[in-house]
Structures are given as C-alpha cells and as structure tokens.
Amino acid sequence: MLRFVFTRLSLVVPTFIGITLLVFVLIRLIPGDPIETMAGERGIDPARHAQLRKDYGFDQPVLVQYGLYLSRLVHGDLGRSIVTHEPVISEFGTLFPATIELSVCAILFALGLGLPAGIIAAVRRNSIFDHGVMGISLTGYSMPIFWWGLLLILLFSVQLGWTPVSGRIAVQYYIEPVTGFLLIDALLAGDFGAFRSALSHLVLPMIVLGTVPLAVIARMTRSAMLEVLGEDYIRTARAKGLPRSRVIAIHALRNALIPVVTVIGLQVGVLFTGAILTETIFSWPGVGKWLIEGINRRDYPVLQGGTLLIGAIVMIVNLLVDVAYGLINPRIRYTR
C-alpha cells in the first residue's frame, strides 16, 4: 500500500512543477510591460520604472526569473494583488471557505438526489421512472448553468420572493469567523436568525452548482448498478432466498459505489468551473468571483496565484481519490 501511495506521489510532483511552469510562462506571454500594467493609467517615470524592474527581478534572464518565482513560491509568497496590495495567498485564504461551503453543499445536494435516483432507475430499468431520470439528467448535464441561475433567480427571488438574490448572508448579521463556514459559525454563535439567513442565501447557488454533478452522479450510479446487478453473485444471493431489497442495498450497492466515488472525486475540477460562474451570478464572495474580478481589473498576480492554488487543490484531491480508491479496491493496488 505504501508503495502504491509513493508511486502516485511521484507522478504528482512533476505535474505540479509543470503547472508552475505553465502558469509562469502563460503570465509572461501577456503582452505589455508588467511594470506599466501595475502603474496603470497614471504612467511612471523612467527612473522608478528601472528601479521596479530591478526589484521584481524583471531585468534577470527568464530562467533566473523562474527560479526566483519558485523560491518565493516555496516560501508561500504568491505576490501581491495590484489592486488591493494584499498578499494573494491571504486573499485566497479568506475567500476560499465560502467556495468550499458552497461546493460541499452542492455535492451533498447532488448525492442526496443523484444516488437514490440512479439506484431506482437501475432497479426499475426501462420504466417511466428510468426514462424520466435519464432524460432529466441529460438535460441537467447540458445545462448552461449561468442561465439556470438566472432562471432560478427569476422564479424564486423575483416572482415568489422566497430567496435573496445575492450575497452570503443578510447585512444585519455579523458572525465572527471561526471555521469560515457561515452555517457552522452561525450555529456555534447560537444565532439561529443568522443561520436561516445564511441557509436561504445558500439554497439557489447550491442547486445551480450541484446540477451538473447531480446529472453525472445519477447517470454513473445507474450504469454502475446495472453492471453489478447482472453479476453472478447477485443471482446467487437472490437464489439463496435473500430479499430483493437486501441484495440491492448490501450486495449490489457496495460494489456499484466504487466507480461512483471516483466520479465524485473527479467532479472537483467541474465544481471549480461551476463555482466561477455560480459565484459571479449570485455575487457569492468566493475565489471564483475573485478570479473573474481579477481578470476584469487586469490583476495578473491574482490570476497567476489563484490558478496555481486551484490547480494544486484539484491535484491533491485527485491524489486522495486515487489513494482512497486503492484502499477500497485492492485489485487496483496490485495491478499497477
């Protein structure tokens, strides 16, 4: 097992170095002088310009610049935002819990609906329910979620007035951040009004972000269940006289869940893509909205640092999924 983990790790390190190189090169490719971009419209006098070029190391050869970039990176220095002058890493750290809270709730929503829907669809194969689930999930998979968000706002916020249009919590509440997750912090503070407000702000973005994973999970669960239900040991279990519900819940589901768990892990990248759009629509104060604002303000350190951090997070989660997969399913461990 340890060897399996080390093999996986040894594959991750070059990928991470590759990402740093890619991000470094991509940002270098942006046309225009970085110092002038930082100075903005006001312009800058030549002496100060030369000084800043030296300070930032832009007068060094590109390879040396990359080395400097890596050494700063190792020390946790991802540069400072051109707009706010705050370190990129601390801005990311403040906003990231909001994105996680939204993403975790979205995945729970997707699992809560997708797993049962997929199981029932597989058990009642070719029934109306099955066709309905497959049709809806393909529609969900094809959904432009930025439009889906606007539709839900139109219906629930504008027409019915049930949910707020944007933000994370109503302005009158202030919750001291402990975990950074508003739902938990509100409960810790014992403020149920704040909890309800946070929950009502969360519902629509959660549905929007959870839609694509929901569709993927429902489809994946159905096809994994269908495969397992056709196995010999299922027939044996039925022939032994075990009740159908027990065979489905214990024998079939446990094996069918293995590919489903992998698919959920691989949804992390999809979730970030979705978070960028969802957070923009609902003005959710997370890293997705922060990145889009960074682009619109031409705040390149934010874009560079944010991309690197998100890439690293996706990579780590994929690694954990891989290792977890090896733990659940010993066949994988030994064949590679």
Partner: protein, 303 residues
C-alpha cells in the same frame, strides 16, 4: 476493438451475409428515439443557420429606437413585427437567436475540428513513437486536464485578449487532451494487431501506417467524442461570452446576449430566458446525438 466488427462481414460474406456495417449502424441508431430527436434538432438548426439571412425577419444588429424591451407577441404590448420581442436597445430577439445559431454551430464545429485534428496527430505521434516524446506530450496533457477547464480557458483568453476568435482557440486547447488520450490509447491497442504487422511487412512507411492503416480503425471513439465535444465547445464558448471574455457585442452570440440581458432580469423575462433556452436545446441535441452514436458504434456498450 471496432476493427473486428468492421471486418467480419468481409470474411463471411458468402455464407448468410450479415447486413452491411453502415446499415447495421443505421438500424441501431434509428431505434434510439433520443438520438433521432437530437439529429432532427441539429438539422433544423443547420438549416436556420444556413438561411439565416432569409429566415430572420430583421437584421440581428438593427436598432429600433421606438421599440425598447417589447414583449413577445402573445403578451400585452407585443406585436407580430417582433414575434419574440426586442432587447434593451430595440433589436429583434428572434433574428438575433437565428443568427446566433449560425455563430454557435460555427464555434462548435470550428473548435472541435481544430481540437480533433491537433489532438489526433499528437495522439498518433505519442502512440507510435513512445519514449520521451510520448512522456512529454502526455505530461503536458495531464497538466492541462488538472486545471479546471473554464479556468484554463479564462487564463488563455486573458493572455490573448477577449474576443470570439481567442475564445474559440482557448476552448480548442482545453478540449485537446481528450482527443490526444483517445487517439493514443486506440493506437496502442491497434499497433500490436496482425493487420498492422502485415502492412509493416509489406513495406508501409510510418506515415502510411499511422494515417492509412491505424487511424481509420480508431475513428469510432473519436467521432463519438467529437460529437460530444461540439456540445462542450458551444457551452464553454457561451460561458466565456457570458463572462464578457468571448464574442463581443453587437455579435448575436447566445452567451453574450445573456450577459447583456442580466440587468433586465427583473422586468423583461424574454431577454433572459430565450437565449439560454437556445443554448440548452442545442447542447442537449448534440449530447443526445453523441450518446446515440456511441451506443450504435460501440458494441461493448450495447445493452
């Protein structure tokens, strides 16, 4: 895997001939209601796109100062001159949607063509030459796959500058790894087969082996992935348009139309709902078609 399926009819042609592979494919495909529905929608969209200039009642960029935010004809205040209403600066929504079909199909086809051609060549090269070249190509693809697709596209557009062309290029790069992986995997499984060895013995050169012998036998998974890729390309390009990084106004791209419409969500439902519905229907049609093609082309998945 598909090779055997395609070749068997030739061998047993005299005895009790099975249907021609294309006929077999068509009868499988026809039985799939969703796939046929998807195909019909796509044909209609293609016709609309081709004849947009004749079908659309107005010019997509013509501004009418006397008709701001007119509702569709069935609502009070609407008129049949603008069947689906007008947007905030008095342009006909129906005409913009029809011309938008032209843009979206163009985006989907151009992006996927670029991506499939580049990806297939890279995949063939990686699968044939192995060694260092393969490692370099596959590592680069792994890195591209690690970054969330929209984020990578955004970074590329940030470098190249916003605009339809750059957005298309960005989406093509994001889709690339899928085709490289499929082509490489298919090549590796095909290369060890007898017909390739036979061609090699017959003196076929590397290029001939790659493009004339192996490539046609890897075509099925590439075709399926390409169809599904069109829907991803349309969706991602629309998302970039929505974020203001794709097609720029006044181009009637559906995502860009949605971005313009966002502030009117409270008073004019039609400017918000209709472009998104167009995206959904188009993407769904390509996904249905892709699923149908996969079921018909890949006998392993037949259930």
């Amino acid at each position: 895997m598909t090779a055997e399926v395609l070749e068997t009819p030739v061998v047993v042609a005299q005895a009790n001939a099975p249907p021609h592979p294309l006929l077999q494919f068509w009868s499988d495909f026809k039985a799939n209601f969703g796939a046929v529905a998807g195909l019909v929608v796509i044909v209609v969209l293609v016709l609309l796109a081709l004849f947009a200039d004749f079908v659309a009642p107005h010019s997509p960029i013509l501004i009418n100062n006397t008709a701001f935010l007119k509702p569709p004809f069935w609502q009070q205040g609407g008129s049949t001159a603008y069947p689906l209403g007008t947007d905030a600066i008095g342009r006909d929504i129906l005409s913009r949607l029809i011309h938008g079909a032209r843009l979206s199909l163009l985006i989907g086809i151009a992006v996927v063509t670029l991506s499939v051609v580049a990806g297939t060549i890279l995949g063939l090269v990686a699968g044939f030459f192995r060694g260092l070249i393969e490692i370099a190509i596959m590592r680069l693809m792994d890195i591209t796959l690690t970054l969330p697709s929209l984020l990578l596209a955004i970074v590329i557009v940030a470098i190249l500058g916003p605009g339809l062309m750059n957005a298309m290029l960005a989406v093509a790069i994001v889709l690339l790894p899928h085709y490289v992986r499929i082509a490489r995997a298919a090549v590796i499984s095909e290369v060890s087969k007898d017909y390739v060895t036979a061609a090699k013995v017959a003196g076929a050169g590397r290029l001939r082996l790659m493009f004339r012998e192996v490539l046609p036998n890897c075509a099925a998974p590439l075709i399926v992935q390409a169809t599904l890729g069109i829907s991803t390309a349309i969706l991602d390009a629309a998302a970039l348009g929505f974020l203001g990084l794709g097609a720029q106004p006044p181009l009637p791209e559906w995502g860009t139309m949605l971005a313009d419409a966002r502030e009117f969500v409270l008073r004019a439902w039609w400017v918000v709902t209709l472009p998104g519905l167009a995206i959904l229907v188009t993407v769904l049609a390509f996904n249905l078609l892709g699923d149908g093609l996969r079921d018909a082309l890949d006998p392993k998945l037949k259930r």
